[in-house]
Structure formats: structure tokens, C-alpha cells
Amino acid sequence: MNSSQVPIARKEGLVIQEMPEEVLIYDLEDNKAFSLNPTAAEIWRSCDGNRTVAEIAKGLKGSRDQEEKEKLVWLALDQLKEKNLIANELSSRFAGMSRREVIRNVGLATAIALPVIAMLSFPGQTLASTCVASLCGSTGLDSGCTGGRRCCPSQANPSIYGCFTNLGNCGVIPGTAACP
């Protein structure tokens, strides 16, 4: 692993809500929300463009083993990159190890909680803008839909109604519906 790289946390297009230990992030571009647990939050906050991966790892409390702590940082960076929360390119990863193998190793070797990033996406964005003015969207009635579809609140935003084809799961299918 190349731990001399300097990760930079993405800040543009995000609304960041700090909490006592965790961080809540809303991505305005992709309409996704993320919750970073304390370890992931600490690592993300440390990605200030001044510190290398090795230096970020050194700052983590809970273990003396620098190599294991660097794995932990990479584990967080791997998820942050995947979720588009890191602004710059990072080339190195786990030297051929899968994420699962790293989790197993790191979990046993450090006393630090693993970094976890939970995500919620809002696939109903298109639905919201196109369906809200439809008959279903304005009345909430099944008669506002064609082709036997039902008028249901979308999972992503229950205030937005759309026409759904899955009759058995009214309200639990994400915004995949087409408008009448």
C-alpha cells in the first residue's frame, strides 16, 4: 500500500451536518445521504489535503500497530472513494487483499471500531419532478393512473405519489414508476 498519498475530502456539493461523534452528509448532486460512524468520521475529517495516509493512521487512537491502522484508514478511504466523498484520485488499495480479508485482519488486530458508512439514496427525484402534477400526484387516487397501475407514495419521498406497476407492494417499491 502506498501510504504517502494525501487524500482530500470532497466538500463541494455536499451538506455536512456534524454530530458529536458521527457525521451526516447529504450529496446534493446525487441525492444521497450518508452516515459516517465515529471511525469513518474521524478519518474523513482528517482528509484535509495536508496529511498522508500514514499520518492520518498515526493520529488514530486505540492501537500501536501502525500497519494495522493504515489498513483501517484504507478501509475507510475505499468506502469514501466508492461513495464519491473523496475529491482526488488515490491509486493504492489493499495489495491484492479483498475488503472482507482486510476487515477480518483489521478487526482482530486493532481495538478501533471498523469504519462504517451507511447510505440512503433518493431514486424518486425524477418521479418527484414529473409525477407531482399528474392526476395521481395531485389527487392520490388510483384513477389517476393508467394500465392498471396504482397511485402510491414513493419509498424515497412518501409525500410524492406516482403510478406503480407492482400491485402487491404499494409504497415500498422505490421510484421506478412511469407517469401516466
Binding site: V15, Q17, M19, P20, E21, E22, V23, L24, Y26, L28, N31, A33, F34, S35, L36, N37, A118, L120, F122, Q125, A128, G137, S138, T139, G140, D142, C152, P153, Q155, A156, N157, P158, S159, I160, Y161, C170, G171, V172
Partner: protein
């Protein structure tokens, strides 16, 4: 539908799709989608002495307090279909909230036939993420919504459990509230 538009556009408040009641001046918020059984659970709670705030939207002010939005309860027929009748809270003997209340418990529950009750506490971050799903203006007024949600959850317990019928769930929920919020001993 008009209420939904108001919820989306209200500049000073955040609307969460949720039932809301108070016990001993502490608010309980019950987030849920439409047809998730919010009204049924709220109705069961107020019939056991909780004060009615809303069966549809928990309205949160900029200080993170829950304010009453006491529309008539939309009570559905025995089949649980889409047809519903509006019932005034007073008609089922409910007291109606008059002022803002701090939130003490945010309880996420999903009805499942024969579900076993087993509340699990969520971290603030995890809980807020789940709450965002039910927050109406989160995409139109994101910064304000997150700020208010953070204040709302600051001193609240956020928990979840599957639940069976509303009658039994309301008793378990009140017991859980009494223990976890008021610190009362188990019944």
C-alpha cells in the same frame, strides 16, 4: 395533497411523515410512510392517555421542538384499504397538544403480522439517516432540514422495532418510553 405541498414549502418548519404524541410533556415521533399504520398506532396511544399532536406529520420548529399539527385522524376501515374517514381527536377522547414539546423518543416501527417486539437503539447518525427518508423538504431545503433534524435528535433516543397489532404495540411502546425516557421501573 395540499398538506404535502405546505410541508414541502414551509420555510420555518420541517415536516416529517410521522405520527406524533406526547407523554408527560415529552414528544414521541413515529415515522412511517403512508399506509404504514401511523394513524392506528397514534390512535391506540392516545386512547391510553398520550396527548395527540398529529397522525400524519410531525412538524418541527427551528429549535428542534415538535409542534402540534392536530388534523382529524384519517381512520381507515377494518380492511385497511385506501378509503378513510376523518375523525376529530376529541371524538375518541384524545387530549390535543397546545404547544411545542421537546422530542424524547423517535421510534421507527414496521407492522408485520406476528412480529416480535424487540426495540434496538440506533446511533444518532444511523437514526437521522433513517429519519431523512421521511423528511419532506430534505431535497428542497437540505441545509435547514439537517440542522433541525440534528437539534430534534440531540436529546432523543432513536430506536426501532418490528411490531404486530397497534393495540399491543402501544402498550409495549408506552412501557418502553416509561423505562427508557422517564426511568420508571419495568411493570
Amino acid at each position: 395533497m395540499v398538506r404535502n405541498r405546505v410541508a414541502e414549502m414551509a420555510p420555518e418548519h420541517v415536516f416529517i411523515h410521522a405520527g406524533a404524541v406526547t407523554i408527560e410533556g415529552h414528544a414521541i415521533i413515529l415515522p412511517g410512510r403512508s399506509f404504514a399504520g401511523k394513524t392506528t398506532l397514534v390512535k391506540a396511544l392516545v386512547q391510553r392517555g398520550a396527548v395527540y399532536f398529529s397522525d400524519d406529520f410531525a412538524v418541527i420548529d427551528r429549535e428542534g421542538r415538535v409542534i402540534p399539527f392536530p388534523k382529524p385522524l384519517s381512520v381507515r376501515g377494518p380492511g385497511g384499504g385506501r378509503d378513510s374517514a376523518d375523525v376529530e381527536a376529541g371524538a375518541i377522547g384524545a387530549a390535543v397538544g397546545r404547544g411545542p414539546a421537546p422530542c424524547a423518543l423517535i421510534f421507527l416501527s414496521q407492522y408485520e403480522k406476528a412480529a416480535r417486539w424487540g426495540p434496538q437503539i440506533l446511533s444518532k447518525g444511523e437514526g437521522l439517516l433513517r429519519l431523512i427518508e421521511h423528511t419532506v423538504p430534505v431535497r428542497t431545503n437540505t441545509r435547514f432540514s439537517l440542522k433541525v433534524l440534528n437539534k430534534l435528535a440531540l436529546r432523543a433516543i432513536i430506536a426501532e422495532s418490528r411490531r404486530a397489532d397497534a393495540g399491543a404495540a402501544s402498550i409495549k411502546l408506552i412501557n418502553y418510553f416509561n423505562r427508557s425516557v422517564l426511568g420508571l421501573p419495568r411493570d
